[in-house]
Each structure stands twice: as structure tokens, then as C-alpha cells.
């Protein structure tokens, strides 16, 4: 069983940017030298609602990228969808607001040692951490192609600057309002053989991750996926964010997606048991 991210630290940090990008908020936080510890795939847990809030739990967000800027030092970027009360509160915070965060948390995407062909697949705002990852992969010499999907155009997150680090970007919407009409997983089998893909990196809804795992099951392709399960603490103590994962001896462990994840080997996650009671179905 894995241990908590050794670089995890709690700090009060200032929001230095908050702008609307499509249906999402792009939030920049000044975190100083902590950026050097953040890797693609890691996440941050943020207190929401202020000191007298009835929301007692932190909210977890994937770190989409980290940068060094002249004016703000090290900054962390988050792409936040204002869905629930907590994320709405965060999106309403102005520049200059101070928030309490714990980061970096969780596992990171593994980077190939060889310059191989990789495919990045993002669903909705799950695409956010993939652009930072693409830069790292490109620096490693990998050829990076990307697929983004969402139900509709407004839910696609594809910043202009992100497109520079990828060889090709294809967009899929289920309602056909942007890019190609269909599911983002539709072209994957063909791309795997056409491009000779060695690794697929994915981030998005669990259904999408499960579908990619099914596609790669009988292929010689590594599938690293960033999972998303509701969590209370983000630091491994509440045991709520568990996923059924197959061990080498075929037994099942309920692993914490905050510590053993969020990046997991998609071929080990027992997707059909997610949300079921493994003690009964074992």
C-alpha cells in the first residue's frame, strides 16, 4: 500500500487570477516553491466557505499545471467547474483572496523513459491536467496526440496555449456542437494500431476511464488513468474514496484514490465492481 505524498504541505495561499474559460474557471494560486514538488496528476485539497462555513470538508481539484511567473513566483493553475456549493464558492473568490490548501497530494502520471508515442484522452474539464502532462511528455521526446470529449461544446476545455505541446488534437462532442459528433473513445482502437501507441493517459469521468480500460485490455498498451471518487479528506485517513483494485495474486484491495491514486493502472482497477460490495461479489 502506498503512502501519502512526501511533499504534501498545508499552506495559506493567495489567488492571483480567476477568469472564465468557457463554462470553467481558470484559477491561478500563488504557492511559491511548492510548484517544484507538483507533478502532473497530483491534486490539491482546498478549504471552502470560510471559517464559519457549514462545509467542513476540503474540495479536491486536479492541478492542471504549475508555472513560474515573474510577478507571482510559483503559481498553480486549477480548472474548476462551478457545480456544487464548494466549487461555486471557490469560483467566486476574487484575486487577492487567501485560501487554505494542502498540496501536492496523490500519485503522479508515470513518464516513459523512452521517447514513445502516447495518446492523451480527456473528458470534460478532466482535460485540464493533460496539457501540463503534454509539456512534460514532449520534453521527454514523446510524440503526443490528444483526444478531448464532452457532452457539448461548452464543456470542452482546450486552451490555445495547451495545443502547442501536442502533435494533434481531435475534439468530440456527443451533440456534435464542436468537432466530431460522437464519443471520445470511438477512435481509440484505430489510433492505437495506426500510431503504434505505447501509453494512454486519461482523465475524466469514470465511465470513460472504464471504456478505455476495456479497449486496452487485450492490447499491449499501458493505460494510466486519473480516477475521481468522492473523498472527505484527500490525505488517506477517511477511507471513503476507495476503488476495487486487483492484486497480483488476484485478490482484491480497496485502495484509496487519494493516496494510491489518483493515477492508477487502468488494467488493475476492477471497473465492474466500482460501487458494488466486493465482499459479496468476490
Amino acid at each position: 500500500m502506498a503512502t501519502i505524498n512526501r511533499s504534501a504541505a498545508q499552506l495559506r495561499a493567495t489567488i492571483v487570477g480567476n477568469k472564465l474559460v468557457g463554462q470553467y474557471h481558470q484559477i491561478l494560486i500563488s504557492v511559491g516553491d511548492l510548484v517544484d514538488k507538483c507533478k502532473p496528476g497530483n491534486f490539491v485539497a482546498i478549504s471552502v466557505g470560510g471559517d464559519s462555513s457549514k462545509m467542513i470538508l476540503r474540495r479536491a481539484f486536479a492541478i492542471s499545471r504549475v508555472t513560474h511567473s515573474n510577478s507571482f513566483g510559483g503559481t498553480m493553475e486549477l480548472i474548476v467547474a462551478p457545480h456544487g456549493q464548494g466549487s461555486k464558492w471557490l469560483c467566486a473568490q476574487p484575486e487577492g483572496a487567501v485560501i487554505d490548501l494542502v498540496a501536492p497530494l496523490g500519485s503522479a502520471f508515470g513518464i516513459p523513459t523512452e521517447p514513445v508515442q502516447v495518446l492523451l484522452v480527456g473528458g470534460g474539464y478532466g482535460s485540464a491536467p493533460l496539457f501540463g502532462l503534454a509539456e512534460v511528455l514532449k520534453d521527454r521526446g514523446c510524440k503526443v496526440d490528444m483526444l478531448l470529449g464532452a457532452s457539448t461544446a461548452g464543456k470542452i476545455y482546450a486552451p490555445m496555449e495547451g495545443k502547442r505541446s501536442v502533435n494533434s488534437l481531435r475534439i468530440y462532442t456527443e451533440d456534435g456542437s464542436m468537432g466530431i459528433a460522437g464519443k471520445v473513445t470511438d477512435p481509440i482502437p484505430e489510433l492505437i494500431s495506426d500510431l503504434d501507441v505505447a501509453v494512454i493517459y486519461s482523465c475524466g469521468p469514470m465511465g470513460m476511464l472504464a471504456a478505455i480500460s476495456a479497449i486496452t485490455a487485450d492490447k499491449d498498451v499501458v493505460h494510466q488513468c486519473a480516477v475521481e471518487e468522492s473523498m472527505a479528506c484527500g490525505i488517506g485517513i477517511c477511507m471513503t474514496c476507495v476503488l476495487p483494485v486487483r492484486n497480483e495474486d488476484n485478490s482484491i484491495s480497496m485502495l484509496r484514490s487519494c493516496i494510491d491514486g489518483p493515477v492508477m493502472d487502468g488494467s488493475n482497477v476492477m471497473w465492474d465492481l466500482v460501487g458494488k460490495n466486493p465482499t459479496v461479489t468476490q
Binding site: 503512502t3 501519502i4 512526501r6 504534501a8 498545508q10 478549504s47 457549514k54 462545509m55 467542513i56 470538508l57 476540503r58 487554505d100 494542502v102 471518487e229 468522492s230 473523498m231 472527505a232 479528506c233 490525505i235 488517506g236 485517513i237 477517511c238 477511507m239 471513503t240 474514496c241 476507495v242 476503488l243 476495487p244 482484491i252 484491495s253 480497496m254 493516496i259 466500482v274 460501487g275 458494488k276 460490495n277 466486493p278 465482499t279 468476490q282
Partner: protein
């Protein structure tokens, strides 16, 4: 100003501070140790351990509620043998005081667990969790039945009584908690832990079904704190000589102080650590300041202070 004597005792177990982790909210301490040294707090109360490894309940396992949360873990854990082999030595290395929480499906399982812990060195006390709400059969919540509660504690006492203090953890989901508390003390409990989570439910409006995989869950957090204070007050009034480990929504030094005034000899902090990994050291500092501010020279003088009949004001 002289420093407050912050130490507290449960039977023959001594703790340098009265602020502990709460069982099930700190795993076995490794994760929180990233944020503060475990030796700096009163004790680590480990997540309730069963005899065999257990996978627990299906997800979703949690739902946030106003000033609280429901959890439905179902006692996931590695089993006592792995726990003794791996977690205890690590905690001993950290110089943490250790209270091991045990949970069983049968009265015999509790005795088995106590027997396995008997020869393990480095443990300060045993918390006997007879009140986990996340079991399939409510009839198995021993703490809802005075007779079953007594039998569990009696079995543990026969195994390790006199060697390690036995703290019985009770459920607030009973008609009369004092009866249950008196029963377990008669059976040999050296202390009482109050309270476990309160049974609750959230319906998901999208699926229009219970949100949690286990349908029901245990409510924790500030939402339940007044229930805990009430239970501590009632039990301390009935059996003032029995130390109480108070818990339920403690988030600040003020909350810890409130429980001590109600009759707690120490407090456990659980859900607050989910929202703030530094909650326990912060609460500890705040409590110390409060005790000093109120003029208490030792924590023992504050325990149950809310019960005094003397109306004389200084």
C-alpha cells in the same frame, strides 16, 4: 503564569495531553505524521481493527451534510495480525501513545482480539468499539443492547483485565445511555468513550435512492457535538469516577474544553482532521490557552466542572 498540567489518565495509563485522534479518523497515524509528530499529541487511537482483513462497504462511502458528514466505511482494515506486525512497531518508533480500537462480529471475536494484543508491548489502552453503526445487522450493534455490551466487555476483561485499561465505546443511538454505561463498567470497563457516530441517511436527488452504498451511515462533525456533550454530561453525573474519552464534532479548543467541563478526561478529534490535517495540534494549543485563561492549574480540576453545585462565584 505557570504552565497548566496538561496530563491526564485512564486507569493506569498516563497521557501527556488530553487530545487524541479519534478511531477511524486517523488510520494508523502514518498520514497525519506528515503534518505533525505523533508524539506531540496525547495518543493515537487507531482505526478499529477486526480479526480478519476486511474490504468494507461499497462506494459512495461519504456524503457531506450541513456541519457534518455521513460515512459508511464498514470497518475496512488489514486484520489484527498484519496490524500488530506493521502498524504497532511503526507507532512505537514514533514514540506515540497507542490506544488500539478493536471491533468484532461476535463476543468471541473481541476476546480473540484482546488475547492477540495481550503480549504486544507499547500499547497504552484498548478501546472496545461496540458501537460501529456500519454493520449489516443493527442487532449486531452491541452497544444498543445492555446485555450484549456487558458480555463483550466481560470477555475482554477476562482476557486482559488489569493489564491494559479497557475503554468501551458507546453509541448515542440508545434510549438511555447511562444504563449501557453502568452495565459496561460493572462488567469491567475502566473508561467510556462517548460518542460513536449517529446513524443517518441522505437521499440522492438524481438517483432518488439512498446516496451511500451502505444506504445508512454514521453522522459525525460539529452537527453532533451537542449530542456528545449531553451524553458525556449524563454519564459523568451517573458514574463520576469513571474516566470518559469525549468525542463528536470537536473542531476547536473551545469544543474540547466544553467536553472536559461536561466530564471528559480526554477528547478525541476525528472529522476535524479531514478538513484540517493540523486540527489536533491546533486544538491542543487552543485548549491549553483556554485552561490558563480560566485559571485551571491542572486539567483534572476542569474535568466535570460543569457539574459543580457550588454557586459561589469568585
Amino acid at each position: 503564569m505557570t504552565a497548566v498540567d496538561f496530563s491526564t489518565t485512564f486507569s493506569n495509563a498516563w497521557f501527556p495531553t488530553p487530545v487524541f485522534t479519534a478511531s477511524g479518523c486517523a488510520s494508523s497515524g502514518k498520514e497525519l505524521a506528515q503534518f505533525f509528530p505523533l508524539k506531540d499529541i496525547g495518543a493515537v487511537v487507531t482505526k478499529s481493527i477486526m480479526n480478519k482483513a476486511r474490504l468494507g462497504r461499497a462506494t459512495p462511502r461519504m456524503a457531506e451534510t450541513p456541519s457534518g458528514m455521513l460515512n459508511s466505511i464498514g470497518l475496512q482494515g488489514p486484520g489484527i495480525d498484519t496490524f500488530i506486525e506493521k502498524d504497532i512497531p511503526w507507532l512505537v518508533e514514533q514514540k506515540a501513545r497507542i490506544i488500539v480500537s478493536i471491533a468484532g462480529e461476535t463476543i468471541e471475536e473481541y476476546s480473540t482480539l484482546a488475547r492477540k494484543l495481550r503480549s504486544v508491548s507499547g500499547i497504552s489502552a484498548i478501546e472496545v468499539n461496540i458501537s460501529c453503526p456500519n454493520v449489516e445487522n443493527r442487532g449486531l450493534v452491541f452497544a444498543c443492547d445492555p446485555e450484549a455490551s456487558r458480555k463483550v466487555i466481560d470477555g475482554v476483561r477476562r482476557t486482559i483485565g488489569g493489564e491494559l485499561p479497557i475503554i468501551a465505546k458507546l453509541s448515542p443511538d440508545v434510549t438511555d445511555i447511562v444504563t449501557i454505561a453502568k452495565g459496561v463498567v460493572d462488567a469491567g470497563a475502566d473508561g467510556i468513550a462517548l460518542i460513536n457516530t449517529v446513524l443517518g441517511m441522505v437521499i440522492n436527488l438524481s438517483t432518488m435512492r439512498p446516496h451511500l452504498g451502505g444506504k445508512t451511515g454514521g453522522l459525525s462533525g460539529p452537527a453532533i457535538r451537542p449530542i456528545a456533550v449531553r451524553a458525556i454530561y449524563q454519564v459523568h453525573a451517573a458514574i463520576p469516577n469513571i474516566p470518559i474519552l469525549g468525542m463528536g464534532g470537536v473542531t476547536s479548543g473551545r469544543d474540547a474544553f466544553e467536553m472536559i467541563l461536561a466530564g471528559a478526561s480526554a477528547v478525541s478529534v476525528g472529522t476535524a482532521s479531514f478538513g484540517n490535517p493540523m486540527a489536533i495540534p491546533h486544538i491542543q494549543e487552543e485548549l491549553k490557552s483556554l485552561l490558563e485563561e480560566k485559571g485551571f492549574k491542572q486539567i483534572k480540576d476542569a474535568i466535570g466542572y460543569a457539574h459543580r453545585t457550588d454557586e459561589h462565584h469568585e
